[in-house]
Symmetry: C2
Amino acid sequence: MMVKKAIVLSSGGIDSTTTMAIARSEGFEIYSLSFNYGQRHSYELKKASEVAIFFNAKEHLIIDIDLRKIGGSALTSDIEVPKSEIQNPQSAIPITYVPARNTIFLSLALAWAEVLGVEDIFIGVNAIDYSGYPDCRPEYIKEFEKMANLATKAGVEGRSHMRIHIPLIHLTKGDIIKKGMELGVDYHLTSSCYNPDEDGNPCGLCDSCQLRLKGFNEAGLSDPLVYKYQ
Amino acid sequence: MMVKKAIVLSSGGIDSTTTMAIARSEGFEIYSLSFNYGQRHSYELKKASEVAIFFNAKEHLIIDIDLRKIGGSALTSDIEVPKSEIQNPQSAIPITYVPARNTIFLSLALAWAEVLGVEDIFIGVNAIDYSGYPDCRPEYIKEFEKMANLATKAGVEGRSHMRIHIPLIHLTKGDIIKKGMELGVDYHLTSSCYNPDEDGNPCGLCDSCQLRLKGFNEAGLSDPLVYKYQ
C-alpha cells in the first residue's frame, strides 16, 4: 500500500502539534515544516524539532526567511509584545499579527509539496480563538487552496488536487487540547509564549500564554509548563 | 496630491525591468523587491540594484530565502542548466522551473505591501514566451489576487483592493523589448543568463539567453550585452 504523506506546518505550539497528531491519526506520514523568520520566540524551533521526533516525522525542514526586513509586527520588530488581556477578535487585529505570514508559510509548503509529490498540507489555523488574524479565516484558506491548484506543474496539466487541511478551524482552545490529549500529545513538548525567557520558560502574560492557559482551564486540565508569572 | 506607490518584483532581467518602466510611466513611485533565493545566477541581484537606482526607486529590498533547501529546480540545485533549444511551452515544463516561486515571491510582496500601505504590485510574468512555467499564467495570477484580498487586515475589514499588475502578459519578448526601448530602458543594466561567468557575462546558450536573443532579433535591435558564446 502507498504511504500517504502530508506536510504539517509546525511552530511547536499547541495548535500545530495537535494538528500533527490529527494528521498522524489519519494515517499520514509526516513532513514537518517550520520557519526561522526572525521571530522573537525562536525557542519554538527547538520545540518543533522535539515535536517532529515525537511524531516520528520522516523529515523536519526549517526554512530561514527573514521577515524582520518587512517588519510590521511585534513578533518580528521592536514593537513591544503587549502584556495585556486577550483582544477581542471581533474588534481589532493585534499587533502580534505578522503581515501575510500564513500566505508566505503556505506558499513555501506548496513548493515543498510539489517537490515531494505531496498533495496534503495541514495547518493549525483556528477561527474561534484565533487572535483575530485575517489569514486564519476559513474563507481565506479556501481561496489559497484554489490558487494553489493553479500554481504548480500539476495545475497546468489539470491533475492538481492540493488540499489544505484545517482540522482545528471550528474548535475552541479547550477542545483542541482535549482532542490532543485523546491522541496522546505530550504538551510538555510545546511552547506558545511570544516572549519566553532564556531557558524557554513562558511569561504567562502575553496574549498567547493567556490563550493557552484559558484553553487548559476550559479543558479542565493543567498545563504541564511552569510559568514565570501566573 | 498623494503619490501612488507600487511594489515591483525585480530580478534585474528584461521582463521585470520593462515592467518597472511601465509602472514608472503610469506615475507610480517604485518600491523594488528582489530575492536572494539561492539562485545560481545571483549576479542578477547586482543588476537589480542598478535597475532600482536607474528608476529612482524609493527603496530596494532584497529578501533572503533559501529555496535550495526545497530544491526541485536546476536554478537552485545541482541539476545542470540545459544548454539547449528553447523548450516548447505547450509540451513540457523546463527543469529551470522553481516550484511555486512566483507564489512565494508574490506572498512576500503582499506582506511588504501591507506594511507600506501599498495596493499595487507589478510582476513581469508573460504568457507568450514564458518558458512554460505554471505560475506565469493569467488564470493563476487572477486567483492569487483573489486570495490576496482575503489575506490581510484590509481583507478582514472588507476594504482590500490589492491589484496584481501583469502588463507584459500578452506581449512577445520582441514586443517587451520594443516597449522598454520606447520608455527609455537601458538594457545594458539587465541580466538574463541562468549561468553567467564570474564577471557576469552571459553564456548565450541557456534557455534564458536564447529567449533574450530571440527577443532582440524580433524587435530588430541588438542586445547591448556581450556574450561568451554566440
